[in-house]
Structure formats: structure tokens, C-alpha cells
């Protein structure tokens, strides 16, 4: 094992994994994190903590993830390249590991023009692929990006994102291969609504044998309304939403129930695709629905986490987080 990550343990044991996304609050309230974490307890193998998603300022990913560690959950700290340079990133990775965080998801990050500080200066000192390699070098070669020696390495399970719905389509799998070569252990994809396109992408993934070198978790968003789907289709770059899904949501008497049904059906279809190692649920601030979807998709109970806990044994979990 490369890390003490529960997610790595579950995947390595050959289980079909389930992760969920938790969006930190636009406030200093730890209570919000604790409440949302309750929905995920016993329901997923690891919890993604977004890093100022859509460039809106929220509680930091590290702090939120540390709170989850204190609650016995396995957080996946998301880290974007938008806001920090290589110095801050390495420093935060060391600090995150010291706080008991065992997973990192390396992302490019949404452009700041989407968020609530569009006049800010972006960083992008590294891109996501360079970030993946940097974490791998820190973990496996015990070296900083500078080449300097690193005495106690951060044993992180390294994740990356890939979007099969972005363009150029033929290149997406090449970029995935670059991420795997750079050191990605697992991949979480953009939300899948367009199963045929996702299947074609997975075919290319298998042609390159990448599914044997990296765990691929397919993204699923449970939606509440037809409007939400239309918004994603028209306003969110890099999403593919078939019109028939929108029509199905429009025709539904109970759109929330229909949204759950679609999510459950999507999960069942994705599970049939060879090379898909798990599901990544992105409830978009509707965390309460995660246990419902997990239950109805037949993904519960989850494999029990190890009795010894997830934090580094020598350091122990942070007191009270």
C-alpha cells in the first residue's frame, strides 16, 4: 500500500468503491462540515473536499478535511493550481498529511472569472499534471520539486480528474495517460449523463490498458430538477447532457425522486462498463441525498474501515481536529 487511505485499501481489495463530494461552507462554521459529514458516515469510502470550487471563497479544503479526519472519515483533499504556487502547494501537502489527510485530488481549477473575486490574479504556477508528479516525487522519491531531500514523506494516495466530455475528444485519453504516467493512482471523472460517450472513452482507456494502471471512478450527479440539468448543459463548460434526460425530468411528477432514479440507473449502467472501479457522487450541496442514492444503487454497506484508524500511527489523529 502506498498510503493509509481507506479508499486505496477498498480499491486494492477489489471492492467497487464509492466516494462522495462535500462542499465546505462560505463561512467559518465547522458545524456545517460536521453536519454534512454525518450523511457520508458509513455511506462512502472517502469524502472529497472541494477547493474553492467555481472560484467562490469557502472554508479551506485542508481545514475541512482535517475536521473529517477527527470524525473518523477518510477525506480526499482537493487541490487546485489556481490559487497557490509550488512553494505553497508543497507546504500545504506536508501540513495536510501531518493532519492525517491521506488522499489528494490534483486539479487545474476553475478560472477565477467564474467566482466571486473575478478581479483576482490567478497563479497556475504548475498545472494538474505537474502537481501530480510533484506529489509522487515527494512520496516515492522523498524529494521536493527543487530536488532537496524530504525527510518524512507525505504518503498520499494520489488522485486526478478527467473529463471525457471535454474536447478534443480523441486527446482526452492521451491526457489521462499523461496523468497516469505522472503518478495518478485514481481518477474521478466529470459527471456522466451521456453514457454512450463515456463508454467510447472507456473503450479507448482499455485499448491503452490504462484501466489496469489506475482506478477509474465515474462521476455521478443526482439532480433535483430539469432546470439544473439545463443549466449544466448550457452553462457548465465540459458537460454533455442528453436532451432526453431533460425531457424525462420535465415530465416527472416528483423531480427529486426522478433525479435519484436517474442517478441510480446511471450507477448501475456504469458498473457494467469494464474498467470502472467505482463511483464518485457529486451531490452539489445536496449531500443529504448521498445515502439514499448509495442504498438504492445497492452500494451499501461499505467495507468497514480498519479498526486501527486511518491516520499515521506514529502521529495519531489531531486532537479534536
Amino acid at each position: 500500500m502506498k498510503s493509509r487511505s481507506n479508499l486505496e485499501r477498498v480499491l486494492a481489495a477489489g471492492h467497487f468503491a464509492l466516494t462522495g463530494e462535500l462542499g465546505p461552507p462560505q463561512s467559518a462554521s465547522a458545524e456545517v462540515i460536521r453536519k454534512k459529514a454525518e450523511y457520508y458516515k458509513g455511506c462512502v469510502d472517502a469524502v472529497n473536499i472541494t477547493d474553492n470550487q467555481t472560484a467562490i471563497v469557502r472554508m479551506s479544503s485542508i481545514a475541512s478535511a482535517a475536521i473529517l479526519v477527527g470524525l473518523g472519515l477518510d477525506p480526499i483533499m482537493q487541490m487546485t493550481c489556481r490559487d497557490r504556487n509550488r512553494i505553497a502547494m508543497q507546504s500545504d501537502i506536508l501540513g495536510a498529511y501531518a493532519l492525517g489527510i491521506n488522499n489528494i485530488l490534483c486539479l487545474t481549477g476553475d478560472h477565477q472569472s467564474f467566482g466571486n473575486h473575478p478581479t483576482s490574479k490567478n497563479v497556475y504556477d504548475l498545472d494538474s499534471i505537474q502537481l501530480i508528479r510533484m506529489v509522487r516525487t515527494m512520496r516515492d522519491e522523498k524529494r521536493f520539486l527543487s530536488g532537496d531531500e524530504l525527510k518524512a514523506e507525505p504518503k498520499m494516495f494520489i488522485g486526478a480528474a478527467e473529463n471525457p466530455f471535454a474536447d478534443p475528444f480523441e486527446y482526452r485519453v492521451v491526457r489521462l495517460a499523461k496523468k497516469v504516467a505522472a503518478g495518478a493512482d485514481f481518477i474521478q471523472t466529470q459527471a456522466v449523463f451521456d453514457i454512450p460517450r463515456f463508454s467510447r472513452w472507456m473503450e479507448m482507456v482499455r485499448d491503452r490498458g490504462l484501466h489496469e494502471r489506475v482506478y477509474i471512478l465515474a462521476g455521478v450527479i443526482p439532480v433535483k430538477s430539469a432546470r439544473a440539468l439545463e443549466y449544466m448543459k448550457n452553462e457548465v463548460p465540459g458537460m454533455s447532457v442528453p436532451d432526453e434526460l431533460i425531457r424525462r425530468m420535465e415530465a416527472a411528477a416528483d423531480p427529486k425522486e426522478e433525479g435519484v432514479r436517474i442517478a441510480v440507473e446511471t450507477i448501475q449502467q456504469l458498473r457494467e462498463i469494464p474498467g470502472v472501479a467505482g463511483i464518485h457522487l457529486m451531490p452539489m450541496m445536496w449531500e443529504a441525498i448521498a445515502p439514499v442514492v448509495a442504498e438504492r444503487a445497492g452500494l451499501l454497506p461499505r467495507p468497514a474501515p480498519p479498526a486501527a484508524g486511518l491516520a499515521p500511527a506514529s502521529e495519531g489523529p489531531p486532537a479534536g481536529a
Binding site: D110, N122, A166, D167, Y171, A177, P237, G238
Partner: protein
């Protein structure tokens, strides 16, 4: 060329508050070509300033001069006789021009009339686009002659990110995804293999992050 754009008249007037003798100085090189600060634009701005003063019942003297290049001593020196008696120079050159005049003439306020935008090209009449960031370490040999540093909104070296769709950038449907352009160009050249290799992190010390940059060439020094 350096592409610039004139500041609003209100901003220029606010800058000039308290100045009664102003010399508007144009530049005959880049900003003439991009129609922001050449002789013609000097004439227009000077007229606007005179009109504004008249409307407010103030007496100001607005002079006009245009030199070949505001960023070279030999041309800036020629301003010496013209500049006498003025309490401000309103430069219509790029940022380099404004600073060269300020450095040469210590006793006079030198103010910028333009916002210097970028190194770019006129894509068509009336539209200029950025092409180069002057990063100090050119990568165009590996990217099909299309610069991801200047033209990708995130400056990614291993793009495109997940926000590229239909050839457009996630930031705006009016902006081409630089990495889609790179992909198409390399595909047409039969060099998609260049996109299989990983770009290492960029050495930003060659950019302005290392402080103001200098090029020193002893073989051409006098």
C-alpha cells in the same frame, strides 16, 4: 507589436488636474500602428483636452509632439527643446515610453495616456489579439507555433483542461481554446506525438518573477 489602448478622457482629465501647460507626446512606432498613440491620436486627444478646458472655463496650454520612438534615448533626447515650459508630459507611448521620458526629464511630471495591453497582432481591422507574454523561455517549437502561456487563459503547459468544449475556452465562448488550436495544428503536421510527453514545470525566474529582466550582450557593447 506592443498593443495599447487609450485611457478614458475622464481618467486622463483627473490625472491632469492642476496642470496648466501639458505637452501631449505621441510615439511613431507600435502605438502608431495600433492606432492608439501616433501623431493622429495626439491631435485628437489634444483637441479633446482643449475642448474640456474651454467648457470648464479654464485656460490651459496643450502642446503636441510626436517622436519616432519613445523607448530610445536618441529620439527622446529630441524632446528637450519642446518640453521646456510644460508642467506635465502626457505620453501616448507604451509603458516603456512613459518611463523613458520620465527617466530622461527629471523635473517634469510624466503621465500615461494609454493602458499598455500586450504583445500581439491585428487579427483584422479594429481587432488586436495577444500572442506573446514575453515569458523569456519560448516553447513554440513544442506547441505547433501557438503559445499556451499567452493564449490559454490558465497558461497551462499540459492542456487542454476539462473546460475546453467545441474549440472554445471555459472562460468565454468568444475565446478559442489555445490547446484545441495546438492539437489541430500538430494533427495537421502529423506531430501529435509532441503532446504525449509531459511538460516540466516552467522556470518562471526567466519571466518577470526574477525582477526586471536585462539582456546583456557584451559583443555589441561600445
Amino acid at each position: 507589436m506592443i498593443v495599447a489602448e487609450r485611457k478614458s478622457l475622464d481618467e486622463i482629465l483627473a490625472m491632469l488636474q492642476g496642470c496648466s501647460r501639458v505637452l501631449v507626446v505621441g510615439c511613431g512606432t507600435c502605438v502608431t500602428v495600433c492606432m492608439a498613440g501616433g501623431e493622429k491620436e495626439v491631435g485628437v486627444l489634444a483637441s479633446l483636452l482643449r475642448l474640456a478646458a474651454q467648457r470648464e472655463g479654464r485656460t490651459v496650454e496643450i502642446g503636441e509632439a510626436t517622436i519616432e520612438r519613445q523607448c530610445e534615448w536618441e529620439f527622446v533626447d529630441k524632446l528637450a527643446p519642446a518640453i521646456r515650459g510644460y508642467d506635465a508630459v502626457l505620453s501616448m507611448g507604451c509603458g516603456a515610453g512613459v518611463q523613458t521620458i520620465a527617466q530622461r526629464f527629471g523635473g517634469v511630471r510624466v503621465l500615461p495616456a494609454l493602458n499598455t495591453k500586450f504583445i500581439g497582432i491585428p487579427e483584422k481591422q479594429g481587432l488586436w489579439v495577444e500572442m506573446c507574454l514575453g515569458c523569456g523561455d519560448c516553447v513554440l517549437d513544442r506547441t505547433g507555433g501557438i503559445c499556451p502561456i499567452a493564449r490559454c487563459s490558465k497558461g497551462l503547459l499540459n492542456g487542454p483542461c476539462g473546460g475546453s468544449q467545441g474549440g472554445k475556452c471555459e472562460v468565454s465562448k468568444d475565446t478559442d481554446c489555445a490547446w484545441q488550436l495546438i492539437y489541430d495544428r500538430l494533427a495537421s503536421l502529423g506531430r501529435l506525438d509532441l503532446l504525449e510527453t509531459e511538460f516540466a514545470p516552467k522556470d518562471w525566474s526567466k519571466n518577470r518573477d526574477g525582477g526586471p529582466r536585462k539582456v546583456l550582450r557584451e559583443e555589441v557593447m561600445l
